[in-house]
């Protein structure tokens, strides 16, 4: 019996041993497999190097490999290196081979993976999408990432950007004053517009309003003539309405800063709902709601419902993103409807202001970060510098010169005739045929920079999107965004503890006032209530951070 027992133990021990060793054996096998293909392309690259004309742009004669964590949008799938002419061309030009770790940028997937990598200190060479700038910066001061500020001698393009766009350093430097994140830059900052059914205005011979009083009369007339339609539709709730209207009413309400905004006349941050003009705006909205002009379900409409009503032509006015002009109108055109939407000039509020705040030109949470453990720091910063150089910008935006685009005599990039466009729907595509990587593009050129209509192409139908853009710009109604402020850890925790309370309390009450379940005469009382939640303390935090921003 005893002997039997000891055999049992031996067996069990053997099983345990096998189980614990198995992963080691297996992992070794896998890793060597992985390394093999990596060494092969090198010889190919050596051969290609000889016919490159732009040897001066080369960062390294020997191919250097970097692992890059990058988000992947499902509409722009990342192609593997062997199939991507685009990535191969980058290697040919710069000597850098990028091994992309493509993580789905859908929901929280990318952020979850990045957070766990950061927390376990298993960081890839380059993180292409920073996702959480505050976290990156707090880790950076502990020495985990490379500082661009230390390598400016190697990076002429980045150095120039620091000078031309001071917000990069003002808003994105860590607490030690150095920049660790090279943000994504955009020139297309226009956000939302007042979008109206242009065809109905023309049909009824109605004029665009100059003030909000005239705007009310216009909407009322539309309501009387089209009682079955929704005169003023809205999605994303009441907070969205006040967010987009408050500037014109001489106040402000920025959702990114929980309702606080930069008062440009007094050059300080304050809480929008405390303003007298804000109350006037709420009263105006209530009037619209009472008379059925503002959609009875304005507070609850989802994007899908909003799209449904807009595409059926059931709604006459809305405030929404300018890009929606394209998709809504193309739906109307494809269905043979006469309806068209376009931008309307924003009416002037009581203080004579009118406009909607733009997006910031420096986009947060989408910058490039380099690990300090990277094998060749100089090559890495030089490569990132190339991304922001003219050559790199052209390539990451439009693909391969001579293949996918050419520069015309005005110096503007132009699609080549083989590429897919309206006149050539079966042409080649950047992503599918060239393995172009969407999120590689860190710098947007001005709108309309690329000519996508070639000589001989039919002129596209009148473009209401472009018309709307120009209209907004001409009327100076795209207001520069509030600066991106940065906070100390203590400030962040104070904001976190107080702001959500303030925002939630505001959201609960704003719809009550508009719908009339709370009387507008109680508004001053509401102001006192919300002040008790710490509005003044939060305003002080924002103003402190703002003076730091200005001081730098």
């Amino acid at each position: 019996m005893k002997k039997k027992k000891s055999i049992k133990i031996m067996r069990l021990a053997a099983i345990v041993l096998v189980v614990s060793i198995l992963p080691l054996l297996v992992s070794c096998g896998y890793n060597t497999d992985d390394r093999k293909p990596a060494s092969e392309p090198k010889s190919n690259q050596d051969a290609v190097q000889h016919d490159t004309e732009q040897d001066d742009k080369k960062i390294s004669d020997k191919v250097i490999e970097f692992d890059v964590l990058i988000g992947e949008h499902v509409s722009f799938p990342v192609t593997r290196y062997e199939d991507s002419l685009f990535l191969q061309k980058i290697t040919e030009k710069t000597g850098i081979k990028l091994n992309l770790i493509a993580v789905p940028d859908a929901g929280d997937a990318y952020k979850q993976k990045l957070n766990i990598m950061l927390n376990s200190n298993e960081i890839p060479d380059i993180i292409w999408t920073s996702k959480d700038d505050a976290l990156i910066n707090s880790l950076a001061v502990k020495g985990i990432f490379l500082s661009y500020s230390d390598y400016l001698d190697y990076t002429p393009s980045i150095k120039k950007l620091f000078e031309t766009i001071p917000d990069i350093e003002r808003s994105y430097s860590a607490s030690d004053g150095k920049v660790y994140i090279m943000p994504r830059l955009t020139t297309n900052v226009m956000s939302e517009i007042f979008m109206i059914r242009e065809d109905i205005l023309a049909k009824e011979g109605l004029k665009e309003p100059g003030t909000f009083d005239e705007f009310y009369i216009l909407l009322k007339t539309l309501k009387e003539k089209y009682p079955d339609k929704i005169t003023f539709i809205n999605r994303n709730g009441g907070e969205h309405l006040v967010n987009r209207l408050a500037y014109s009413w001489g106040s402000g309400y920025e959702t990114g800063t929980y309702g606080f905004y930069l008062n440009r006349d007094e050059d300080k941050y304050q809480y929008g709902p405390l303003d007298e003009n804000f109350k006037l705006m709420v009263e105006w909205l209530k009037k619209l709601y009472d008379e059925g002009i503002l959609d009875k379900e304005y507070a609850l409409r989802t994007t899908a419902q909003w799209e449904e009503e807009m595409s059926k032509g059931n709604a006459l006015f809305t405030v929404d993103y300018i890009d929606r002009v394209k998709s809504i109108n193309s739906g109307y055109i494809n269905n043979g409807m006469e309806a068209r939407v376009a931008a309307m000039n924003i009416p002037k509020g009581p203080t004579g202001k009118s406009g909607i705040l733009a997006k910031s030109a420096v986009m947060s949470n989408s910058g490039i970060v380099i690990s300090s453990k990277i094998s060749d720091p100089v090559a890495a910063v030089k490569f990132i510098d190339w991304i922001y150089s003219d050559d790199g910008r052209l390539m990451t935006s439009y693909g391969i010169e001579g293949e996918t685009f050419v520069i015309d005599e005005d110096g503007k990039p132009m699609l080549t005739s083989q590429m897919k466009r309206q006149a050539n729907p079966n042409g080649k595509e950047l992503v599918k045929d060239y393995g172009w990587i969407y999120y590689m593009d860190k710098y947007e050129f001005p709108v309309g920079y690329l000519k996508d209509v070639l000589p001989g192409d039919p002129v596209p139908e009148d473009d209401r999107w472009m018309f709307s853009r120009e209209k907004m710009e001409k009327a100076n109604q795209v207001i520069p965004a509030d600066p991106v402020l940065k906070f100390t850890e203590q400030q962040t925790s104070e904001l976190r503890s107080k702001c959500t309370l303030i925002q939630d309390y505001f959201k609960q009450n704003i719809d009550k006032f508009i719908m009339g379940t709370r009387l507008i005469s109680e508004y001053d009382q509401f102001v006192e209530e919300i002040k008790k939640l710490g509005v003044d303390d939060v305003a002080k935090v924002y103003n402190d951070a703002y003076s730091v921003y200005k001081g730098n």
Binding site: K4, K5, S6, I7, K8, I9, R11, L12, I15, V19, L22, P23, L24, V26, S27, Y30, N31, D34, H73, V74, S75, P77, V78, R80, A102, V103, P104, D105, A106, G107, A109, Q112, K113, I116, M117, N119, S120, E122, N236, G237, E239, H240, T255, G256, T303, A304, E307, S311, K312, Y321, D323, R324, K326, S327, G331, N334, N335, K359, M363, S364
Partner: protein, 292 residues
Amino acid sequence: MKKANLYSVMFDVFINIILAMVVVVTLYPFLHVVSVSLSDPYAVMQNKVNFYPVGFNLNAYKSVLSNPYIWISYKNTIVYTVVGTAVNLVLTTAMAYSLSKKYLFGRKFFSIFTTFTLFFNGGIIPNYIIISKLGLIDSMWALILPIAIGTWNLMVMRNYFEGLPSEIEESAAIDGCNPVQVLVKIVLPVSKPIFATMTLFYAVWHWNTYFSPLLYLNDKEKYPLQIFMQQILITGETSFANTVVGIEDTNLLISNTVKYATIMVAILPIIMVYPFLQKYFIKGVLIGSVKG
């Protein structure tokens, strides 16, 4: 007599009506998904699609099926499920059988040791560090080895083995079988139902797993179907939180027809297999419950 007949007829009618309602309630969502996937995206946006497709076309399926990654991820999921389940079954059986023997040295220690993991674990980050130090990152074994034995399944299986009469095994031992032979030749043939159940449990687990591949795999070519699905289904669900930052590019939105077509492609094989597995599934669930 006549009266009783009338009652039973009424009863049948009543039952049939209720069952018909249940069928409608369960079938409608499915039918809706099928219809949307076969419709014109614009009709879907206008909310015109209910029971049958409006503006019938196969474009959504064309775009889904022409994506090479759906096939790659399909293949990956099948490989992970088959290999993973095989590893699970071999290891779970071996351990459950050993633990079911009362005379096993240290039985209590090993039992407590494994039960402990039901209630406590290291958390995501230590796990990630272990996997990474073992060199398993970007390897399919990172999805298989850490869950090679499911504690709960192990206990169910151990209970089942304990319930087998020990006389059979003893007689086999007298005939000259060693313990491994007893397990393979005597115990396994009489344990088919528990195997069917375990296979199902483990296979479904591997098929559905999403978070570990997201964490541990880096190469897109190795992603399973669930990651592909998540990417297509969640993209374009813009919340106001996103739009505040100004990310709402209409080019980045994915039409519902494509989303629904992806769902169809992904669930079709399971739908076809499920009726055949169902009887085992019901049996297996009972096994766990009878013997506590």
